[in-house]
């Protein structure tokens, strides 16, 4: 799939689209199959509005994170720091909103303080991401190593700033981001789900319709060729990692709002869930391939699977193994389909 490169020739974009559509179709098939099996096994328990809402809300945080991770993976990189940035940004936001008792902030209307706190948290996430990009492009560190370092830095800063204490007493205006609903009458959709859909649409548009988005695929397809073709590789990569950090921070802030508490321990290991969602979603670790829709569906598969294990009353001691088997089967199924197409 390395030739899936937007700058190569006139025919390339449609080729990308075709590959993308095929892989998304497979993922939809897997997800539908899982839902069908669960509906048969536990019936109404799975299909109840409460359960479906709960599952979608749960995976929306992972899906937001996975969308950022997808960008890094398309360029052939990875961002291991996203779980730590998830915690760091949420802590900055929660501290700003609930803990920093300087007169300027305490005198501020709550809503304004919430908005500024969220923006500051997002900025901190984007800044961490940009730092990743700078380490990768300016110091030429491999993404795996650079983000392994910042993973530790962001986590360590989170512990240091909070001393390990959780930050509670957050105002309702903030909790709305994670716990509220938007809608009319009896149709009420949880805010994080709306957030996920809006962000997914934005990033899908970005990747498919903007020049910068095409460059992201081009870099992953063949970095040297892209460079020769005039793609500003380093600058694009820095933007990609900054966006990845931004998405991690949004997921972290929304999770803190959902739980009503900011914690330095939040998001441990979530980077692995995000990576798994992106790969299940049809992206290649070699870069150049992957879609936002696929990643969201990948996160959905993980979410439905986790929910299914709970509904089926599977003992926690076996759940990890089952989760692993399904990931391997899902990715293999997708890979076999691709190979047959070739």
């Amino acid at each position: 799939m390395k030739t899936a490169n937007g700058t190569e020739s006139k025919g390339a974009p449609s080729f990308i689209r075709r590959v993308q559509q095929v892989s998304v179709f497979n993922i939809v098939l897997i997800l539908a199959g899982m839902c069908l099996l669960l509906s048969i096994a536990v019936g109404g328990k799975f299909l109840s509005a409460t359960n479906i809402t709960s599952v979608v809300r749960q995976f929306s945080f992972y899906a937001i994170m996975a969308t950022g991770m997808l960008l890094a993976i398309i360029t052939g990189g990875i961002d291991l720091s996203s779980g730590s940035v998830f915690a760091f940004s949420s802590i900055i936001t929660c501290l700003f909103i609930a803990k920093w008792d300087i007169p300027l902030l305490t005198g501020m209307p709550v809503l304004l303080r919430v908005i500024l706190g969220v923006l500051l948290g997002m900025l901190s996430g984007a800044a961490f991401g940009y730092l990743n990009g700078a380490l990768i492009t300016l110091l030429k560190l491999p993404p795996f190593i650079a983000t392994l370092g910042t993973m530790s830095i962001a986590r360590g800063l989170s512990y240091g700033i909070t001393g390990g204490y959780p930050i509670g007493s957050l105002p309702d205006q903030f909790k709305f981001i994670g716990l509220g609903t938007i809608g009319a009458g009896s149709v009420q959709i949880p805010t994080p789900i709306i957030l996920m859909v809006v962000l997914a649409l934005l990033f899908s548009f970005f990747l498919r319709k903007t020049i910068l988005g095409r460059w992201v695929y081009a870099i992953g397809g063949n970095e040297e060729a892209a460079r020769i073709a005039g793609v500003r590789v380093d600058r694009t990569k820095r933007i990609v990692y900054a966006l990845c950090g931004l998405m991690s921070s949004i997921a972290g802030i929304a999770t803190a709002a959902r739980l009503g508490v900011g914690q330095s321990t939040a998001g441990q290991g979530y980077e692995m869930d995000a990576i798994a969602a992106v790969i299940i979603g049809g992206a290649s670790v070699n870069g150049g391939v992957g879609t936002v829709l696929g990643s969201v569906l990948g996160a959905a598969i993980m979410g439905v699977l986790r929910n299914g294990l709970v509904l089926l009353n599977v003992s926690a001691y076996w759940q990890q193994a089952v989760l692993g088997v399904v990931i391997v089967v899902a990715v293999s199924f997708d890979k076999l389909q691709h190979d047959r197409k070739k």
Partner: protein, 317 residues
């Protein structure tokens, strides 16, 4: 000249030695991990006791729960020649050798919260985890005399203290011939979000669920607004017994979102641990508990009758 010099040298040595003698006692307190909020009360109490006794307290540990990383921490403490180490072991066997080396190097070592019984440590002060599992089962049987389905929420699988609580819980129910049916264990992997999601989904999916046993209080670190399913569960007559009595959890007792909290006594573990080590270092007479040198720090029980009083006594988080 030589005489004067040697005299000076001896004087210097004596001075140096006496100043070393006057140096304050240094005790390092090593939790399982720095990222576990449960140890914060032990830290505060250890530091307060340190200030009272004139002991310098170092709070050091690995960022996450990891026995190998903890071994490295102890090794560096041996290098630094601290006077005492108080440790909560991630793994009883993995820490044994390094604890023995510390003791051989003349460092007084005690365990708190999680023991390494085969090592040369002087004592272990902590909660009897089997006993609190047993106690939880007794409360559950009192709440559900007619029986019913009870689910268990645990944290990281395989952690010795959590497994002991589950064993204590299950064995007590079985021994009493209780009609309570224990469902397969669910885990939130020590993560607040995962714990909240698992409890919410499981509760919503099992309308016939009668009780929950949380062998650690992870869901109660979240805001009460985040747990509408738990609120609904309690309103329809569900019963919850939960371990841990951290400050943020107190509000849940008042809200009727948990029947009883059984807390390990972390402040006592921190304070008593430091004090006992201090006495050992100073060569004073000291009580080392029973024949296995186990000092039971007991537990605290919080329910609707006493939660306000207990809450008032806790430092706000």
């Amino acid at each position: 000249m030589k005489k004067v010099l040697s005299f000076l040298l001896v004087a210097l040595l004596v001075l140096g030695a006496s100043s070393a003698f006057a140096e304050e006692v240094e005790i390092a307190v090593v939790p399982k991990a720095l990222d576990n909020a449960i140890f914060l009360d032990a830290k505060t109490a250890a530091e307060e006791k340190g200030a009272e006794l004139g002991v310098k307290i170092y709070w050091e540990g690995s960022p996450t729960s990891d026995a190998a990383a903890q071994v490295n921490v102890i090794e560096s403490l041996i290098e630094r020649q601290v006077d005492g180490i108080l440790i909560s072991c991630n793994d009883a066997d993995a820490l044994k050798d390094v604890i023995d080396r510390a003791v051989d190097a003349g460092i007084a070592v005690g365990c708190f919260d999680s023991d390494s019984p085969e090592s040369k440590r002087a004592f272990y002060c902590g909660t009897d985890n089997y006993a609190i599992g047993k106690l939880s089962a007794e409360y559950m049987m009192e709440y559900l005399p007619e029986g019913g389905k009870v689910a268990i929420l645990t944290g990281v699988l395989g952690a010795p203290n959590l497994e002991m609580r589950i064993t204590g819980f299950k064995e007590t129910l079985a021994a009493a011939g209780s009609p309570i049916e224990v469902l397969p264990v669910q885990t939130g992997e020590d993560d607040v979000q995962k714990s909240v999601e698992v409890v919410s989904q499981f509760t919503a999916a099992n309308p016939d669920l009668a009780g929950w046993f949380f062998d650690g209080g992870w869901p109660y670190f979240a805001d009460p607004d985040a747990l509408p399913e738990v609120k609904a569960f309690m309103e329809r007559g569900g019963r919850i017994v939960s371990i841990d009595t951290c400050e943020p959890m107190m509000q849940y007792v008042g809200l009727g979102m948990v029947d009883i909290l059984i807390g390990q006594n972390y402040p006592t573990m921190g304070a008593l641990g430091v004090e006992t080590l201090y006495k050992i270092i100073k060569g004073e007479e000291v009580d080392l508990g029973d024949e296995t040198n186990y000092i039971d720090t007991g537990y605290e029980i919080v329910d609707i009758n006493n939660y306000e009083e207990v809450w008032a006594g806790k430092a706000p988080w």
